[in-house]
């Protein structure tokens, strides 16, 4: 799914909570048909994050970017915004979860990215199960 962005470097400028020393991440696509990618730190080879678009798994997921964040990212066009969520892998894989409280917002036109912690009015969880949940009403089991 992220083949067209494979190998691109994004600048997170220390905005990933608990990883303020890390700025540059390369997006590595897992495969054309896969909804997953990996954000690999360029400053610490031991640190990478599995990511996916939250909208792939959660059709009702939505939030508003505030003006300050839009300005900081230089975002002027909706289509320049790429939203990703950090996935916490579990064993078995089917129990893996996504952090919907603090999505990553990337401006693909200038490669700037930021982890945004959503305000409390959004009642999302840091551990939302990817599979078998109620957030994609109408899906088949």
């Amino acid at each position: 799914m992220f083949n067209n962005l494979h190998g691109q470097t994004f600048h997170f400028n220390g905005s990933v909570l608990a990883f303020e020393a890390l700025n540059e991440f390369v997006l590595e696509s897992v495969g054309e048909d896969s909804p997953f990618a990996v954000l690999q730190s360029q400053e610490d080879a031991n640190i990478g994050f599995v990511v996916a678009s939250p909208f792939t798994f959660f059709k009702d997921f939505a939030f508003e970017l505030d003006e300050h964040d839009k300005e900081e990212l230089g975002l002027t066009e909706q289509h320049d915004a790429l939203i990703l969520g950090f996935i916490t892998l579990q064993d078995p894989f089917q129990q893996s979860t996504m952090n919907l409280v603090a999505p990553l917002v990337i401006n693909i036109s200038n490669s700037k990215g930021k982890q945004i912690v959503l305000p409390p009015k959004y009642e999302y969880s840091t551990k939302t199960p990817l599979f078998h949940h109620g957030l994609d009403k109408g899906g088949t089991e």
Partner: protein, 79 residues
Amino acid sequence: MLVLTRKKGQSIVINGEIEIVIASVEGDQVKIGISAPESYKIYRKEIIEMVQQSNQEAVVQSKSLHNLGNILKTRDIKS
């Protein structure tokens, strides 16, 4: 850390642009009002800690990515 004692209704001003007011005190709960420029993000600390912890739990090491690649490739959203 600066520690100040305030009564209900009293305020603290930071840098001339942030105001913190004690709105009410009921038992062990204190209601705090905060005015700050829009660009300032204000969060309950436990939310920040929750995200920090979640980020830490989400880290994968590149050595395990090779196996990961195989698992992730064969998964689709209906799994």
